[in-house]
Symmetry: D3
Subunit: 66 residues, 6 copies
């Protein structure tokens, strides 16, 4: 039944997203007793110019990977 | 007052989105007694490489339209 | 595949929510060629003290139904 | 940097949610190279009367756990 | 047109939420040239047992206000 | 702890987004007693062909800036 929305910066490879979807689905099944068949995992990738933390925009931050 | 967020795969035409926004607005007015003037319907289209169901990424699924 | 999140004020009856879920699912199937079996419709109901429009909190507005 | 929103039915225990937050954080770190310190995992629990799949409201479905 | 969703822990007063809605609306008008009349600000308050950061659930953290 | 998601039409400059992130963070700190260090502000920009209000799609509306 459930769905999971992952919000993160752009830049992951398809292989990383493939593994992430599998790992999150596994976590939902094992820890929250969910059935996998209707379980969606959606990844929203946002450019660093549209995401800020602590009032500072991603493109203005020194460290890049988060 | 309300707003509706539709999350689905990329690929619908503008005409499909135009009709979908109209139909969802109609449903909100008729079934939930909403006023249309401040009612937003937003469609987030996600690439199939960023959406998984049952632990399998969209691009790895056999059937394409869902 | 898709899912729809409806954000609105608290206060609808179960019957209204039942009809709204059916109507939105119908709109998604008819207008966006979705398959109903994995299609989720989730209704988030927010108290009027936690929702504002035009800078004014719901509980401070004159008209109540939106 | 990222955050994860889990949308599911009401009813999990605190222990299940504790373990789910840990497991999803682990997945994000291991599969998407995220740093854990700013990584939020939020669980939205929705009553079955406010969630439908395939046009049918949760409370009207035969099987209860999903 | 836009809407803003604030996700935070439970516990703010109505007065804090009133002021927060006003201040965020002002920021949207002044910084992003939005018109206020259709601008929604919605506050989702989540219990600390349903929110984790760095893999640790809110109720298990030492510092309480975040 | 909190995060804020801004949903609006495409088209703002990086400078507008920089200022908006700063102003919203300031509002959260001043009005809701949040600490800025873990506070995310994410801007989702949606094309006008995927956003409707009052049943009318953005691209079909006369006034452009909202």
């Amino acid at each position: 039944m459930p769905f999971v929305v992952v919000e993160m910066w752009e830049g992951r490879t398809v292989e990383q997203k493939r593994n992430l979807v599998r790992a999150i689905t596994k976590a939902m099944v094992e820890e929250a007793a969910c059935k996998p068949d209707h379980l969606h995992v959606v990844i929203h990738e946002t450019p660093k110019e549209s995401w800020g933390r602590g009032g500072v925009l991603g493109i203005d931050m020194v460290e890049n990977k988060s």
